[in-house]
């Protein structure tokens, strides 16, 4: 079947799926939706519809993630009249009301509604595109997430999918490489190297066999962009991989996905089977002379395998340890053959660029950082979730407008970008535009796109210690600076957190951090000191208070704090008594309580449980 016919069939399937006249219920069931209970909600709908014998007329579909994770579980109900409403925070107990009112009687339940999809506002329920979290976004990588059924390839094709591939097969591969160069796309895995350049190295390398790899080993704690794309729109990534294969002259592709993402792996497996059925994989793809196949490799839990040379060692069945470069993978990579490796988000951008053209893509972003970037917003922020914004937008817009700022009236302290390789950016620098260069000059990195917001209840020394615990643990041990350097940095940070730090530690942290940065073998070590160096740069005061006064201003470092109960404010409600794990709180009911300092382990449970703010940390 030629591509025109495939697309025609796909469009009629998509029209059927999106037109009015039928009732459809879409449940956001990516991993985060499931963690909030999406499958239970799904079952509740199934049972409720069966009970009312309406199950024959209603289509119940699992879709990917819209990115509004703070409002999970999200359910979109499309009634017979075409009115589509997105409900937030749906729980199984709310299902009968939704079915009764919206599905059967056609009256949307506005009290649970978050937005109206594709229609005018309704009784105070805003339009989806005008939501504060959505209006500033430009969704290219996330173009289909949460909108299509990720298990249905026709949905992807109908919305423009595979037309990029259909266009490029038959083209001169050099032209494709030039087009990607012209788009200005830079690697979204962290380092930000030009994707087109990278392709041209692998294309021009001499070799009988070449490989392309999709790096889906998203190991940064705090990042989940790649997972959402793979779960919500796997074909966008796989199409990009096939195009990359064609452009550099490879016949074999690999997807290296971390084992912690079972649903993503399931979706990729399914998608690969569908691609074979449609003739997008295998021999003579879309009638051309191009043959290509994709294998999935599951990671086995090693952060360092996100580094490209380590990842290739892992695919070959060895310990995932990086090696020195050159030779670069483009010359000698997997099985010593020329290899091109791109991250999930990069490949999902490639499929959009080849569909709509380089100029269209390059119109977004800044001069040196073109296009859009996805970010995972988490930590102390009101609207957690996944967003995609044009490069050059300010951090303040992301955190305050899109993310809704810090909740519960607490104070913004810093935002951590780039995971364990990145750094903490303080409030004073919130107005910098987000692109590769500006984040680097603030001491952080773009990284893969994790953004963790930190408020005044977090201690910056503790945050640095947290990241060093991670990198020290994940250091593969091959090179001395990283193996020993991370150990020393961690030991010093632990000393400071536990009240054993001395003033010399500040300079020593800087010296060792700088040495590890300059002399480590791979990206893991070269960036590992960033959390320490940026917190030292922007929050040195906090280190000094720990060292000189033996105090932790944020009230986090246990050895330096104690809890007591404000006898004026305490109502004697016993909430703290119930949560205290060591029974350190004493006092009669309805009388102010006290904490027995001998027994208290300073875990802070009582402070979390107190509704009157009477637990004071000193």
């Amino acid at each position: 079947m030629n591509f025109e016919k495939i697309r025609e069939k796909a469009r009629s399937e998509w029209d059927r799926f999106s037109r009015a006249g039928e009732t459809r219920i879409l449940v956001g069931s990516a991993t985060c939706g499931r963690a909030a209970g999406a499958l239970e909600v799904m079952n509740a709908f199934r049972e409720e519809l069966a009970k009312r014998s309406a199950d024959k007329n209603v289509e119940l579909v699992q879709v990917g993630c819209l990115g509004l994770c703070f409002a999970e579980v999200l359910v979109e109900v499309m009634a017979v009249d075409g009115c589509r409403v997105l409900y937030q925070g749906v729980e199984p107990r709310m299902v009968p009301e939704l079915v009764e009112s919206h599905v059967i009687e056609g009256r949307p339940v506005t009290s649970h509604a978050l937005a109206v999809m594709g229609g005018p506002a309704l009784d105070g329920v805003p339009v989806f595109d005008e939501l504060p979290m959505i209006s500033r976004q430009v969704r290219i990588v996330l173009r289909n997430c949460g909108i299509i059924d990720p298990t249905n390839i026709d949905h992807y094709i109908a919305r423009g999918g595979y037309s990029g591939l259909a266009r490029v097969v038959g083209m001169n591969p050099d032209e494709i490489v030039e087009e990607v160069k012209a788009s200005g796309l830079r690697g979204r895995g962290g380092a930000g190297f030009s994707t087109g350049q990278k392709w041209s190295f692998a294309r021009n390398a001499a070799g009988d066999r070449k490989y392309v790899i999709c790096n889906a080993d998203e190991g940064d704690p705090g990042a989940f962009m790649d997972r959402s794309v793979l779960e919500g729109d796997p074909h966008a990534v796989l199409e990009g991989l096939v195009i990359a294969g064609y452009a550099i002259g490879a016949e074999q592709g690999y997807v290296y996905c971390r084992a912690e993402y079972p649903l993503a792996i399931e979706r990729i497996e399914l998608a690969i089977g569908q691609m074979k059925d449609k003739g997008f994989l295998g021999q003579k793809i879309l009638g051309s002379e191009f043959n290509f196949d994709i294998k999935i490799k599951k990671g086995a839990g090693a952060f360092v395998c996100g580094e490209e040379t380590a990842l290739m060692q892992s695919i070959e069945g060895k310990r995932g340890m990086p090696r020195s470069r050159p030779p670069f993978p483009a010359i000698s990579g997997l099985f010593a053959k020329p290899t091109n490796i791109n991250n999930v988000e990069t490949l999902a951008s490639v499929s959009a660029i080849l569909e709509k053209g380089a100029d269209w893509y390059a119109a977004y972003g800044t001069e040196k950082s073109r296009g859009t970037k996805t970010f995972a917003l988490a930590g102390k922020i009101s609207r957690t979730g996944l967003i995609e914004v044009p490069m050059g937008i300010s951090l303040r817009t992301i955190i305050e407008e899109i993310g809704g700022g810090v909740p519960d009236g607490r104070e913004f302290k810093a935002v951590q970008t780039g995971g364990p390789s990145g750094g903490c950016i303080p409030a004073a620098l919130l107005d910098i535009p987000v692109d590769y260069e500006n984040l680097a000059s603030a001491g952080s990195i773009m990284g893969s796109g994790g953004m963790i917001v930190i408020d005044n209840e977090s201690c910056m020394v503790d945050v640095a210690r947290y990241f060093l615990t991670f990198t020290e643990n994940e250091s593969c041990g091959k090179c001395v600076p990283c193996r020993m350097g991370t150990q020393h940095l961690l030991r010093m940070l632990t000393d400071i957190c536990e009240g054993r730090g001395t003033p010399e530690y500040i300079d020593r942290l800087r010296l060792i951090g700088d040495t590890v940065k300059r002399t480590s073998l791979c990206g893991l070590g070269q960036t590992a000191p960033n959390p320490v160096l940026t917190t030292l740069r922007h929050f040195e005061d906090e280190y000094l208070v720990h060292i000189e006064h033996g105090k932790c201003p944020a009230g986090v470092c246990r050895e330096l704090i104690s809890f007591r109960i404000d006898q004026e404010k305490c109502t004697g409600c016993r909430a703290c008594v119930q949560v205290c794990p060591v029974e350190a709180i004493v006092g009669a009911k309805k009388k102010p309580h006290q904490i027995n300092q001998e027994v208290c382990i300073r875990c802070g449970s009582c402070r979390q449980a107190c509704k009157f703010g009477s637990v004071i940390v000193e």
Partner: protein, 171 residues
């Protein structure tokens, strides 16, 4: 290759036709699905662990013979990756996420209260083999932090109390 050997305190008896969770299982049957190529080492180990829940010494011997690698080499690879276990886990395997978002939202407290509740540390199994505990770097469900995973089901927005309740219910 027949392997009936030292078993001491291990939970499962190992024999040529091993019976785990009511299924007849052979290492050979798993391996036969893969070509004898080093590239398949990690997938085979993952497959074996999926069936047996850990990698016993004897399974590693069989994989070594099949791929013509030394056991030393295979242990070198298997110990490098956090996923592989060399002791059987408990009936309920509890993973507490220690990712950044979970950390700033108090996952440390959850891990501590669990350690007190079931009396073991991360990487350990209770004496009655009912529970095992693991700390994991990140599940990628950061927007629902803190996250706890019990027997592969993900629970978001957890607290120490909710986790303790979950453990009691899983008994």
């Amino acid at each position: 290759m027949l392997c009936v050997r030292r078993f001491g305190t291990r939970k499962y008896k190992w024999s040529h036709d091993m019976d785990v969770a009511g299924e007849n299982w052979e290492v050979e049957r798993i391996m036969s699905r893969y070509e004898r190529s080093r590239e398949n080492l990690i997938p085979i180990l993952q497959d074996v662990q999926d069936h047996l829940s850990y990698l016993p010494q004897e399974a590693i011997e069989e994989v070594a013979a099949y791929l013509d690698l030394s056991e030393n080499d295979i242990f070198g690879v298997a110990t490098f990756y956090a996923q592989f276990r060399f002791h059987p886990p408990g009936d309920h395997h509890i993973k507490v996420c220690q990712g950044t978002a979970c950390h700033v939202r108090g996952s440390g407290l959850i891990l501590e209260s669990l350690m007190r509740k079931i009396g073991i540390g991360p990487g350990e199994t209770t004496d009655d083999r009912k529970y095992s505990l693991e700390r994991v770097a990140c599940f990628g469900s950061c927007a629902l932090a803190p996250v706890v995973v019990v027997d592969d089901k993900v629970y978001g927005r957890m607290t120490s109390k909710k986790t303790e309740k979950l453990i009691e219910e899983s008994k």
